[in-house]
């Protein structure tokens, strides 16, 4: 099989994920896009492993590790998103702007999303 097929597919998947990371507003959608990017890399790893006929199967082993790390990442990531949602009442990434410098140069705490009581999130759970 031509190596260009999996390679180009991986590139396109990666860039799709890239677009999703940059363009999506909801943090969970961003996490999905990250999964897409990781899978594109996995595809590359597998394809090259097969192509090179590596006796150690480094590519496939690494793919397994990547999958495991992706699972850990999604767990931690979701926990963070939930925490943010509970504290801020929103999981919209472009509303989390505490790092922005205000025109008056003052502290940015208290700005951005209105701090919502945690009870709301708990009620949802």
């Amino acid at each position: 099989m031509h190596l260009a097929y999996p390679a180009v597919l991986a590139v396109l998947l990666f860039c799709t994920g890239l677009y999703g990371v940059l363009a999506r507003r909801n943090a969970i959608l961003v996490l999905m896009s990250v999964e897409l990017m990781l899978n594109a890399v996995n595809l590359n790893l597998v394809a090259f492993d097969v192509w090179l006929r590596d006796t150690l199967h480094a590519g496939q082993a690494l793919t397994l590790f990547t999958i495991a790390i992706a699972a850990a990442e999604i767990g931690i990531g979701l926990a963070i998103v939930l925490l943010v949602y509970r504290n801020r009442g929103s999981s919209d990434i472009d509303r989390l702007r505490d790092l922005a410098e205000r025109p008056d140069g003052g502290d940015a705490t208290g700005h951005g999303a209105q701090p919502q009581p945690d009870t709301e999130a708990e009620a949802a759970a």
Binding site: M1, H2, A4, Y5, P6, A7, V8, V11, L12, L13, F14, C15, T16, G17, L18, Y19, V21, L22, A23, R25, N26, I28, L29, L31, M32, S33, E35, L36, N39, N42, L43, V46, A47, V50, W51, H57, Q60, A61, T63, L64, I67, A68, A71, A72, E73, G75, I76, L78, A79, V81, L82, Y85, R86, S91, D92, D94, D118, A121, E122, A125
Partner: protein
């Protein structure tokens, strides 16, 4: 797959059956991925992600990496997407079309993504124009082969990875606890994290 190994016999104009299958599945996968990152319905995005991940699993199969393919189905389709769906629900994601699914950054993101795609495709095609994968011979990714390799050569990274997963589990629990109270969300997340934690155990089989 059955073609001769001589390079002259290969060509884009005479695709093999595997190539055609790979191409078709790849188009389906890419389409699903595109819908995932563009749809306005958040739950649909998760479902289309299932399609995309499943497509990738099929591609693994076509590349003779069968073990990876089943792990992909198990972990991604089975647990990650479910976890994402739980996340969507926990954050009270709207059901149905939400007009603000994309941020104002969309056009810049599109430009960056297209430029990256162009550059990478150009580089990849330029580099691997005349490279073929020989899929004949011994199966590369059978469970037996991979298991042997994994526990012969990669056993130390593998165990380090299990420690990492444990740390992630603990981290997720700590993050989702809130100051002594708030047991309900913590318990919920624990179930999710536990699900993640089971994944490597399944891999070992």
């Amino acid at each position: 797959m059955t073609l001769a190994a001589t390079a002259a016999a290969h060509g884009f104009l005479s695709p093999t059956g595997v190539e055609i299958a790979f191409l078709l599945v790849g188009i389906a996968t890419l389409g699903a991925a595109l819908i995932t990152v563009t749809t306005r319905q958040l739950v649909h995005a998760a479902l289309w992600l299932v399609v995309a991940l499943g497509g990738i699993a099929v591609e693994y199969l076509l590349l003779t990496a069968e073990f990876i393919a089943w792990v992909q189905v198990l972990i991604y389709v089975g647990s990650v997407v479910v976890l994402l769906l739980f996340g969507l629900m926990l954050t009270k994601a709207p059901i149905g079309r939400s007009p603000d699914a994309d941020s104002g950054n969309r056009w810049a993101a599109l430009v960056v993504a297209l430029a990256s795609a162009g550059t990478l495709v150009w580089v990849v095609v330029d580099a691997f124009r005349a490279t073929w994968i020989d899929l004949d011979g011994a199966v590369q990714g059978s469970t037996a082969t991979l298991g042997r390799t994994l526990f012969q050569y990669w056993v130390l990274p593998f165990e380090a990875l299990s420690v990492l997963l444990l740390a992630a589990l603990v981290g997720a629990i700590v993050l989702s606890r809130k100051g002594g109270e708030g047991k309900a969300p913590a318990a919920d997340l624990r179930s999710g994290a536990a699900r993640t934690g089971t994944a490597p155990r399944e891999e070992q089989h």
